[in-house]
Symmetry: C2
Subunit: 124 residues, 2 copies
Amino acid sequence: MNTTEHMTEVVQRYVAALNEGDLEGIVALYADDATVEDPVGSEPQRGIEAIRAFYANSLKLKLEVALTGEVRAVANEAAFAFTVGFDYQGRKSVISPIDHFRFNEAGKVISMRALFGPANIHQA
Amino acid sequence: MNTTEHMTEVVQRYVAALNEGDLEGIVALYADDATVEDPVGSEPQRGIEAIRAFYANSLKLKLEVALTGEVRAVANEAAFAFTVGFDYQGRKSVISPIDHFRFNEAGKVISMRALFGPANIHQA
């Protein structure tokens, strides 16, 4: 069983790595056989190479990521609300997802799902 | 597929019913064969009678429930961060979960999971 402290730290490292554009820092948090469904409802990325390619594409934009509340963590799962700001074609956008991480026994993220819909995408 | 608007409204009705101690208002949001896992990691309540009993017990305390951000909703799923305040044995406590609802095609909640751990329980 993963501790609350470990899962919370992984979330904080994830947020920091997104802000720093640190692709390998992000990938290091995932298990080799992890899946990433971002957003929920899309076809999941399966396996670390697909996940690396997915984040490499995301990091083409400079992201400003901030938690908007405490990390919830228990029983090998964590959830957290946050904002992701970026400029796209000269326009400032902010998306407000809730992400869900499931951890394997080695302490790596085995499943990530990012839940946001059209009402959670804001344009300045 | 459930609309964002419907799922957001169900979450708002859920929060209002918790605040009002409206047991049947809560139960009406759930499918007959729904499950409630609260907190994540506990044995789920299965079926509407078990769910009614679960909430009847919860509502023995006067709850003060407030969303702490926008409802995230897409693809038959919703997630929301909130606080639940209550007095227990003369002591004021606040729990800060993130709940996840999955909806069936009839627009009812078929699965609820409440994710919070020891670090999300605060005592005044």
